[in-house]
Symmetry: C2
Subunit: 201 residues, 2 copies
Amino acid sequence: MYIPKIYKSEDLTLMKEIISENGFALLISNEEKLAATHSMFLLNETADGFYLETHISKANFQAKFLKDGDNVLCDFLGAHSYISSSWYDHKNVSTWNYEAVQIRGKVRLMNDGELYRHLEKLTSKYEKIQKCPMLVANMGTEYVREQMQGAFGINIIPEEVHIVSKLSQNRDEKNKESIISNLKETGNPHSIKIAEKMQNI
Amino acid sequence: MYIPKIYKSEDLTLMKEIISENGFALLISNEEKLAATHSMFLLNETADGFYLETHISKANFQAKFLKDGDNVLCDFLGAHSYISSSWYDHKNVSTWNYEAVQIRGKVRLMNDGELYRHLEKLTSKYEKIQKCPMLVANMGTEYVREQMQGAFGINIIPEEVHIVSKLSQNRDEKNKESIISNLKETGNPHSIKIAEKMQNI
């Protein structure tokens, strides 16, 4: 993606927030042909940085070709909303405000132990907020190992991180206020989130 | 993306709905390197089918390399939601329900006239619902032509269409009802939409 300077962020806390809140994201590769799979991602922090984890079905085209060292692109789209130029006090073209993260990295396939821990963490992330959490520990090791047979676990070691935070930074205060109030009026949660983000910059 | 048979749809009405409601989508290419841009798409119906239209900034990496005949992949993610296995009456792994469209196609770059009409249609789609619509006609031809200088218009002629509608089709009625009521309880609009879609199949 192309990020004009005013929309470019270096904020790793924002990056982690976007990835955590939009963990059902896109794994893009080009082994044999362009391919992209919506899958569940986790960001794993390490002493000297982080890497991404995800898993896809072994029946997926990407699982047949991806191997250690292959290049992939991971795309996480956060809140986004149409911005009407009718909300401005001057003539201009309409646009789209959004937050997103793209991570270009290299594949490192998971071994069985890593895949097991990945599924444990992933399940814990989404289950701990449920009324009756169904954690991996409740399922039993044998059952989880059986289910794992169909899964292809992938670590992605980041090489490039791109964070976009496009929030009408090119508008003056008066126009920003008008955009914020119009976004809130839509009632759309994504638009309201963009409005709140705009208020915080 | 990998679509197991039970989640595969051939419903072109559903495809048009997903594209129309999720028009801020992803243009993926691999000229020189993997690249993906979030941009505004339109589906253009023709006598014998359809094609996609979008535009990106001329400063975008993709605009420097994409040419007629290049292969691209367009990804439209519709409603989606985590499905907790704690909502089932039996042991199972959690999953994610979602609707999405992926279109693999060939680039046909727009000429100036096509780009102008594309911007007209795009503006009309999003402006006609505004209180004071700012249509291209209101902006004046000269102003629009000036703004067009920075835009790179792309038609995508479809070669493969993939529609996924993953809505717990592998669950019995009792479990489906439980998933639907739990999704509605979340209050999340995406989850509620998935619940409504599940009710309609």
